[in-house]
């Protein structure tokens, strides 16, 4: 393929994946509200369009037309930058997620991944580790005690859980012998070779830490409304507020995609086209996310820290050591 053709396909892939991801983000909010409604014996949003399907659009329009109120004692630059910093890394994750097998269009072989880095997993962790800055800076720059407490909680929480989060993957990497996501998916061709069966402990650790990393219930202490009003979000309004929510849902989607790729066989599956399998698996992961939120009450803060350092971290270390031992023997 010539360089121009390569550049054009790359451009198209970026545009398609970002549009789909943004659409996914918008409809994740709808999914969350509907599913929560069903789980809590309510109806949820049903009036905007058929089955309430236009609800995300109505929400977006509403938020755009709200007044963008900036309090007096904020640090303006960081205050404005924080929502963006929260949102962009989540989107960048999708650059290395393989969404399907190689396809052929007009004689060109096209891989359905924007960039198949040979250190894909590390890239994902590098990018997700930057997301915390959004929350921390929002908390710091708002000049409000609730925001500051939310920001401090969040940074402590994310540092604690990131260690177990990273270690949980090491077991898989040891078995796979590669850091490329595309190769990982290729290794999980048959159902029982999925890493969720070969590394069950790692999968559980990954899920728990992922929920904590994305600040979702039961680990949503940074925005615990009973104690901190809305945590780091307190002083935000209009589109900046919406950006944080988009960031949260984009993070959830990104983590679901990573879980699908590393543990659940990625786009592999029988009968249906690979892309569809990928979407189905990500959709199911998102449903589990929301199900967890509807089921479990929020942790207390000291419980959260103890759990992270005294349970998850040693367990992740143990898992790594046992896997390494098995690999050597």
């Amino acid at each position: 393929m010539t360089l121009t053709a390569l550049a054009i396909t790359a451009m198209i892939k970026v545009i398609v994946i970002i549009s789909v991801a943004l659409l996914g983000v918008a409809y994740s909010t709808y999914l969350e509200r509907r599913l929560l409604g069903i789980l809590q014996h309510r109806i949820g949003p049903i009036y905007a369009g058929p089955y309430g399907l236009l609800q995300p659009i109505a929400d977006a329009v509403k938020l755009i037309f709200k007044e963008d109120f900036i309090p007096d004692n904020v640090e303006r630059v960081t205050y404005t930058l924080a929502p963006v910093i929260m949102f962009i890394p989540a989107l960048l994750t999708f650059a290395v997620i393989p969404v399907g097998d190689t396809i052929t269009i007009m004689g060109h072989e096209i891989e359905l991944v924007i960039s198949d880095l040979n250190i894909g997993i590390l890239y994902v962790f590098a990018i997700t580790s930057l997301g915390v800055y959004g929350i921390v800076l929002a908390g710091w720059s708002s000049g409000s005690k609730y925001s500051l407490l939310g920001g401090i909680r969040s940074s402590a929480q994310m540092i604690s859980y990131e260690i177990a989060y990273g270690l949980s993957i090491i077991g898989v990497v040891l078995l796979a012998g590669t850091l490329s996501l595309q190769e990982l998916v290729a290794q999980q061709e048959s159902f029982f070779s999925w890493y969720v069966f070969r590394q069950p402990v790692a999968f559980i650790l990954f899920v728990v830490c992922a929920v904590a990393e994305t600040n979702r219930a039961p680990f949503d202490l940074p925005e615990a409304e009973a104690e901190l009003v809305a945590g780091y979000l307190t002083e935000y309004s209009s589109m900046k507020y919406a950006m944080f929510f988009m960031g949260e849902y984009a993070n959830m989607l990104a983590v679901s995609s990573v879980a699908t790729t590393i543990f659940l066989g990625g786009w592999q599956g029988p009968f249906l086209p690979p892309v569809l399998w990928f979407v189905i698996k990500v959709f199911l992961c998102m449903c589990v996310y929301i199900w967890i939120r509807a089921t479990l009450p929020r942790f207390r803060y000291d419980q959260l820290m103890n759990f992270g350092w005294k349970v998850l971290f040693p367990l992740a270390l143990l898992n790594t050591m046992v896997t390494a031992l098995i690999k050597v023997l």
Binding site: T78, I119, F125, A126, S129, L130, L137, G139, E162, G166
Partner: protein, 177 residues
């Protein structure tokens, strides 16, 4: 052509970020400029196809250490006004002497290392796995095994020290009450 543009752009951002970092009164802004500088450095590593080193730079420094910096700054609630009006005479002289010594040291090191290394640039570019996972691991676990293990002992000592200090403070507080 594009590579050269990217190189100069990220080099400029890396240096500019570093300069702006030390020119700030506001500690949070300093940390932010340091992150920008680190990100630009990561780009430079990636241009050398040292993807692994670049990723580590982001994960370890930008993703963990600087978050801790921010955490401490936020916890102490430091703002710009905490860093003014401490310019004592002795402090000023030592400041310039130390910076001068450090600069001379830097010049000597760069003169010794960088100029002979220039002949190796070509070979570094042609080696596709330069700075990849395997070459780094191989060096770390064979040639540099001893210093590597020593570093881990050093870190362990630091962790134990931190725990001891934190505990002592706690017990003193309890004794006071």
């Amino acid at each position: 052509m594009l590579e050269v543009v990217i190189f100069y752009l990220s080099a400029l951002i890396a240096i500019g970020g570093a300069v702006l970092m030390i020119a700030q009164r506001n500690p949070v802004a300093s940390v932010l400029y340091l992150i920008v500088s680190l990100a630009a450095q990561a780009v430079l590593y990636i241009q050398l196809s040292a993807l692994f080193v670049g990723a580590l730079l982001i994960i370890v420094y930008a993703g963990a250490i600087l978050v801790l910096f921010l955490f401490v700054i936020m916890l102490l609630n430091l703002r710009g006004e905490h860093f003014e009006g401490q310019d004592q005479k002795v402090g000023r002289i030592t400041k310039y002497v130390l910076s001068g010594l450090f600069f001379i040291e830097l010049v000597i090191i760069v003169r010794q290392l960088a100029i002979p290394a220039r002949t190796d640039i070509v070979s570094a570019q042609t080696a596709t796995d330069f700075g990849g996972v395997e070459p780094v691991a191989e060096l770390l676990y064979t040639k540099y095994l001893f210093p590597f293990e020593l570093t881990s002992v050093l870190l362990l000592v630091a962790v134990v020290g931190a725990v001891v200090m934190a505990r002592r403070e706690k017990s003193e507080k309890q004794g006071g009450v």
